[in-house]
């Protein structure tokens, strides 16, 4: 293999698995260290810069970072990154004075359709640069689906208010209760750019016999959740069936439990393991006495005299074809009818753009989705950008934020007369963390603690009050314990071949057997010859140049604890622990068009 080019910004970025996995590339280990130091406001601001909604995401994020966390490959569970984010939000001081100030107006006007996370992220990035941003939303308050679809017992209004206000406070104009129903009309108002962040607002229908006849007691999940959220609905029948296996289904069933649903069941077509809902949301539902029944396909709504009495299910099992594709085939068991009073249908969300006229210059693909460039988020109309669920279908808040940053950069570049396709490389800082002979600026003593549980409100109390937040969040002691579990993967092991005398000290001390000195070879061959097996090919090998004996140093990045013992035991300083920070380029970054390297 060729020597690893550690100056490529992506190389070390990938080693910070959590940050690499985060769509907004939040510098996770950096803010976790700040939490451990008690610097909650600083930790919050780092988050705010990257992901805009730390308090909201600290409660609701889909956490792509956690399955990626290296700790999960070393022991049973990853670091509770998401809930540590909430710690930063819960314990920070007043940070208003640290927010950017509305810049002097540059005379450019941006219209943002929809007041959800994507539009707000765009406004957050553009308003301080002097753009006049106007956000339109059909609901009276900003937040979009964060406010309308996520139950209050998971995400209180106060948190949404606080974080949306930070953005609106930058001089962003919010036009609540004004749903945009014509893009053509909006285009005619001569905005310099339009951003569409209108989400995926339509719940998918379940068109099976009985749907119409029993319609009074069959509700579309996200519409029902919005109605609950705005106080239009405050009760449901005693026996409730929730159809669907995603996070919306989990929100529906738990909400139903709080509105009079004594016997609430979730029924899914697939197997329990394959459900789309996050594992922790399934756990929370089960904890609230909600059984999840799997491999059952709804075939009919049963009704008597226009009144729903139950749902009939066909039982299926999974079969896999040669290509590993799953098919659900009838198991042959008799159909089962589960009696119920109400049904909540949460089988998916769809995009809907009835307000975009055919002659607006926006082309759609065969799935009726707008053609959007995945890098610049521009549509076929060069003035109209898309982001969030509106761009590529339903995803999560953190994706919407990431789209928002990229779209904002495109808008800023376009209105500065630059080529939006030229995407600048991020700015990278790498610096040694050595403080003394065996002292580092970070705590390299690896904690052996298991993942700490987040305290929950007592179930009896929680189920009585739909606005009582179930998760109470870590207290400071638990937060410190959890923060110490972080392996500081951003403090990189950096190797210098000319300094190495091949004494083997690093090999001998490495607790994870990550380091090997061996003859060079092709990657597949090299992976076979390492000191410990290397099963994860997506994890890089760090290969040095030739050493004096003709061998090379190979480090498998996979399960490195970043404990720094290799550097402590190295007599010549060939190993050093260097902190890698990467600033993703956002609109208004100082080096908007310069390429940067890591080392």
């Amino acid at each position: 293999m060729k020597p690893t080019d550690i100056s490529a910004p992506d190389y070390f970025h990938k080693v910070v698995d959590c940050q690499w996995a985060c769509p907004a590339h939040t510098p996770v280990p950096e803010y976790i260290r700040l939490i451990a130091e008690g610097r909650y406001s600083d930790a919050y601001m780092i988050n705010w810069q990257s992901n805009v909604f730390p308090g909201i995401l600290g409660r609701t994020c889909d956490r792509p970072c956690e399955p990626a966390c290296r700790r999960g490959r070393v022991e049973d569970n990853p670091v509770a990154i998401c809930r540590l984010k909430r710690v930063a939000a819960d314990f920070k001081d007043d940070i208003k004075h640290r927010l950017p100030k509305p810049g002097p107006k540059n005379g450019k006007r941006i219209a943002l359709v929809g007041g959800g996370p994507a539009s707000l992220a765009v406004a957050r990035d553009l308003a301080p640069l002097g753009y006049h941003c106007t956000v339109f939303d059909g609901d009276p308050k900003a937040g979009g689906m964060m406010r309308s679809q996520i139950p209050k017992f998971r995400l209180p209004d106060s948190v949404i208010d606080e974080e949306t206000d930070y953005i609106l406070g930058l001089g962003v104009e919010f036009k609540g209760g004004q749903r945009v129903d014509s893009l053509k009309q909006l285009l005619s108002e001569n905005y310099d750019a339009i951003f569409v962040g209108s989400g995926a607002p339509r719940g998918r229908e379940l068109d099976i016999p009985g749907r119409k006849e029993a319609g009074a007691n069959i509700h579309i999940g996200i519409e029902w959740l919005a109605n609950v959220s705005f106080g239009h609905v405050d009760k449901i029948g005693r026996r409730v069936i929730v159809l669907g296996g995603g996070n919306t289904a989990m929100d529906c069933c738990r909400t139903a439990r709080r509105l009079g649903g004594e016997s609430v069941k979730v029924v899914v077509r697939s197997g329990f393991e394959e459900m789309k809902a996050s594992p922790w949301e399934k756990e929370d539902a089960i904890h609230e006495d909600i059984p999840i029944l799997n491999y059952m396909v709804p075939v009919a709504f049963k009704h008597v005299a226009g009144k729903l009495i139950g749902v009939t299910f066909q039982k299926v099992r999974a079969e896999y074809d040669d290509k590993g594709r799953r098919n659900l085939v009838p198991s042959g068991e008799p159909d089962e009818t589960i009696p119920c009073d109400d049904v909540l249908v949460a089988v998916g969300q769809e995009n809907a753009f009835p307000w975009i006229e055919a002659d607006c210059g926006i082309e759609f693909d065969k799935w009726h989705m707008p053609k959007v460039d995945p890098k610049t988020f521009v549509s076929t109309n060069p003035k109209v950008f898309f982001g969030g669920d509106a761009a590529f279908g339903p995803k999560n808040i953190i994706w919407a934020v990431a789209h928002g940053h990229d779209a904002a950069l495109s808008i800023h570049k376009m209105l500065s007369g630059e080529d939006i396709n030229e995407r600048p490389l991020p700015e990278v800082h790498v610096s040694s963390q050595k403080m003394g002979i065996h002292e580092w600026s970070y705590d390299n003593d690896i904690s052996a603690d298991k993942r700490f549980k987040v305290p929950h409100r007592d179930k009896v109390v929680a189920l009585k009050d739909i606005r009582a937040e179930v998760e109470l969040g870590y207290d400071l002691k638990l937060a410190l314990g959890e923060a110490q579990r972080c392996l500081n993967c951003d403090v990189q092991t950096v190797f210098s071949a000319p300094l190495c005398i091949e004494c083997d000290a690093c090999v001998d001390i490495c607790p994870m057997d990550c380091i090997s000195f061996t003859e060079n070879g092709e990657e597949d061959d090299l992976r076979q010859r390492l000191k410990a097996p290397s099963p994860h090919h997506d994890q890089a090998l760090y290969v040095s140049g030739d050493l004096k004996t003709g061998r090379v140093m190979v480090k498998d990045e996979d399960v490195c604890l970043h404990c720094g013992l290799c550097a402590e035991r190295c007599p010549t300083g060939a190993w050093d622990m260097q902190k890698y920070l990467i600033d993703m380029v956002q609109a208004g970054s100082t080096c908007q068009s310069k390429a940067r390297s890591a080392a």
């Binding site: 490959r73 070393v74 022991e75 065996h438 390299n444 003593d445 690896i446 052996a448 005398i501 091949e502 004494c503 083997d504 000290a505 090999v507 001998d508 001390i509 607790p511 994870m512 057997d513 990550c514 410990a532 097996p533 099963p535 004096k548 004996t549 399960v559 604890l561 404990c563 013992l565 402590e568 035991r569 190295c570 007599p571 010549t572």
Partner: protein
């Protein structure tokens, strides 16, 4: 010196030996030696050899004297018996322990100061008595703990860190061990674990006095130009006569070897040593030949490494003394002190 404990986490894919242990289970405390010390690599090699042989840690006694090298038993086999004895007195303490309990595996760990100076006589007598042990000298040619004076194994003409030339002749412990009748003699280098680990494993399986001289560069005081025990010098002058694989149990000899290049030595305990010859003329069964070979190459400035001599039919001290099979420390007082009537009988037989 490292202040934190080595994390308990280990690679999730580590192989386990027959006892269900990973090599991490054979570690001791974290080393307090200087960063990069060759001794730490010898420690790692002992750990690896014991892991590969699936040795039960509680069946091992590790005994040492004084010095950097003699600190190392603290860093391996944390669950074994250990005794850090007086300077140079490891051999007699080990001999005594071995006489009292012949069932344990004895690892004698010493250095060039401990064995070639203050304990030279002790070293000599334990070898000539054929104590069943693995005697490892971690040989760096300097007194590291007292800041780098030449030791008795420093080569004549080599230079100290300050540039002073050594005018004394060197003691070659391998030559002495051969002359005194050691039945397993090897030399290796801390920077070459592929050679060292099987040598330690073979020595542990050998019944009789096994002696391994391991050249182990002192990073702080003897790793400079002009030293003959530096990483660079040893790598440039290393003349390995053979490579060893230890085969325990019934596994067939690997077919990877080209015919005629491998010599198989069967030891008393049934283990087999597969020796890949690197020097066609070298015969590890020829004690006299080995001594001559060593002297010739030493005169040319070469460091001969590998398994230099082995006598697979060796006997040990207990055989010579005709002691009982039962370890003496498990016998009760009546068996060990049968009383004056028995003593009278013995005395009478000698009159």
């Amino acid at each position: 010196m490292t202040y934190i404990a080595k994390p308990k986490f280990h690679h999730p894919g580590l192989k386990k030996n027959e006892l269900g242990y990973t090599h991490r289970d054979y570690e001791g405390k974290i080393s307090t030696l200087c960063a990069g010390c060759g001794h730490d690599s010898i420690t790692a090699s002992i750990i690896e050899a014991c892991y590969e042989l699936s040795i039960e840690p509680h069946r091992v006694a590790k005994i040492s004297g004084i010095g950097c090298s003699s600190k190392t038993p603290d860093y391996f086999l944390g669950n074994s018996h250990g005794f850090n004895s007086v300077h140079g007195r490891m051999p007699s303490v080990l001999t005594g322990a071995n006489l009292a309990n012949r069932d344990l595996i004895y690892l004698g760990v010493s250095g060039d100061g401990d064995s070639a100076s203050i304990g030279f006589g002790q070293f000599a007598h334990s070898i000539r008595r054929a104590v069943n042990m693995t005697y490892i000298v971690e040989n760096n040619g300097v007194y590291g703990l007292t800041k780098g004076q030449f030791s008795a194994t420093a080569d004549r003409g080599s230079k100290s860190k300050k540039g002073v030339t050594n005018t004394d002749n060197a003691i070659d412990l391998v030559a002495i061990a051969l002359q005194l009748g050691a039945t397993f003699v090897a030399r290796s280098f801390s920077g070459d674990k592929t050679q060292l680990v099987p040598l330690i494993a073979a020595a542990i399986r050998h019944k009789g006095a096994s002696f391994i001289d391991v050249i182990s560069p002192c990073i702080a005081f003897n790793n400079h130009a002009g030293s003959t025990k530096s990483f660079d010098y040893v790598r440039e002058h290393n003349d390995a006569v053979n490579r060893l694989d230890v085969l325990v149990g019934r596994e067939p000899i690997s077919v990877d070897y080209a015919p005629g290049t491998v010599q198989v030595v069967e030891q008393h305990d049934g283990s087999r040593l597969a020796l890949r010859k690197l020097d066609a003329d070298y015969d590890p069964h020829d004690r006299l030949g080995a001594m001559t070979f060593l002297q010739k190459h030493a005169a040319k400035g070469q460091i001969v490494t590998g398994l230099l001599y082995v006598d697979p039919d060796a006997e040990d001290l207990h055989t010579h003394l005709d002691t009982v099979e039962t370890p003496l420390n498990t016998m009760d007082e009546r068996a060990l002190c049968p009383g004056s009537a028995v003593l009278d009988k013995i005395n009478a037989s000698l009159r």
